[in-house]
Symmetry: C2
Subunit: 244 residues, 2 copies
């Protein structure tokens, strides 16, 4: 008998994403590639821009983000990661990162040494292709963030961000489509949406007043998903999630 999924560390990897799933064989190989499981404190930096990396980080539980900062030290988030994301698999072909990676909440992560990914590249081309695929999902999200910042007005940018994170969380069973836990402060959200915290606050009020969604005590409640998606010009196809 095979090991039940729930007992595996990486059971959320590519979970809920359409297309070919990992074969049980590949999943076990990936599982075996894990070198170490670690707990990280909330609000701690995992990797700094430019430093050489020799392992990649898979996020088992918690929330992390990737960001770059400007001259004044103000952050621009370029990605928010949730359970099931291979946070910095980018670092494997790149060897060093162009941005910082930090936790938002306390996190449980699995560290995978790059030497073991080399082995997967050599011996398991289909698994390697899935790993590649997962990094390109990130790239697709990056593109959507470019679109969001470049073409949408503030309310829609905020709405779009919530639509994306909801879809990601739903894929890994952390959202029921109505509400979900999101431990980001308004400053975090502002850094993701490219606006000031003050203005973000006003946009949240606007979304609430329009009856679309609200957020209190780190809990997001979606009132009218269809309307929210419409306002935000959100089309989830770029996330490759099932049932969307």
């Amino acid at each position: 008998m095979s090991i039940p999924q729930s007992s595996m560390l990486l059971s959320d990897f590519l979970r809920g994403r359409g297309r070919e799933r990992l074969s049980l064989d590949d999943r076990e190989i990936l599982e075996a590639a894990v070198g170490e499981v670690k707990e990280l404190k909330a609000r701690s930096t995992l990797i700094e821009k430019g430093e050489p990396v020799h392992f990649s980080t898979y996020l088992i539980e918690g929330f992390m983000c990737r960001y770059m900062d400007d001259r004044d030290g103000d952050r621009q988030l370029v990605a928010v990661h949730v359970a099931g994301d291979f946070v910095d698999l980018h670092g494997y072909p790149l060897k060093r990162l162009d941005h910082d990676i930090a936790t938002i909440t306390a996190c449980k992560v699995a560290l995978v040494p790059h030497s073991r990914i080399d082995k997967i590249m050599e011996e398991k081309p289909t698994l390697a292709k899935q790993l590649w695929f997962s990094t390109l999902l990130d790239a697709a999200m990056h593109r959507e963030w470019i679109f969001r910042l470049g073409r949408l007005e503030a309310v829609s940018r905020v709405g779009h961000f919530f639509c994306e994170i909801e879809a990601k969380l739903r894929a890994v069973g952390r959202s029921d489509g109505q509400s979900f836990h999101l431990p980001m402060t308004q400053s975090d959200l502002a850094e993701a949406c490219g606006m000031t915290p003050v203005h973000l606050n006003r946009m949240l009020r606007e979304l609430k007043e329009r009856g679309l969604m609200s957020i209190t005590a780190r809990k997001v409640s979606i009132r009218d998903m269809a309307a929210l998606r419409k306002l935000s010009e959100f089309d989830p196809s770029y996330l490759f999630v099932e049932g969307n």
Copy 2:
């Protein structure tokens, strides 16, 4: 003796990028993977969002772009491609694209069937890793675009764009660091920088008046690269180009 580089179609692939170069062996294998060489008309659409793709496009000569459009049909460019770029290698693991791809100028491209990339994945892990690497360079550029749109003011956004394209062109021998050919209209540039053509025009004037750079008749002249980079908070390390 080996075939001289100049006679090869893909001689600009990853050219000027630091780190391991393609081995001659790998280069020949990649060359052999080309199925067809095609000429494309200026301002023509190559691939539309959502359609299944079975080959990827390598750009031999010319300028192409990737973009997404909003509800009103206004474009947001998410990438500009130059000679040496594997434009839509993303389509290989993803199988369909989340954006459109079009030419800016007339282009010469090499089409590589995905079946042949499958073969490379199976038999040539080091080459496969270089291909993966090249898609992650795109992702790194995406992140920089997010930063640009999210954190920089208009003049700097424009300057940053020119810094990036100059560095890319220099890597493949199409810029001497002083001036280069760039066949984009001001509307194209506005679509890349997330602003209106009118405002872009004013920002170009500003850059010129400050003695940083100018553009006329599709030719960009850099007057003071150091100052331009400083104004634009541009650090080329994310491009992995040599000598920067």
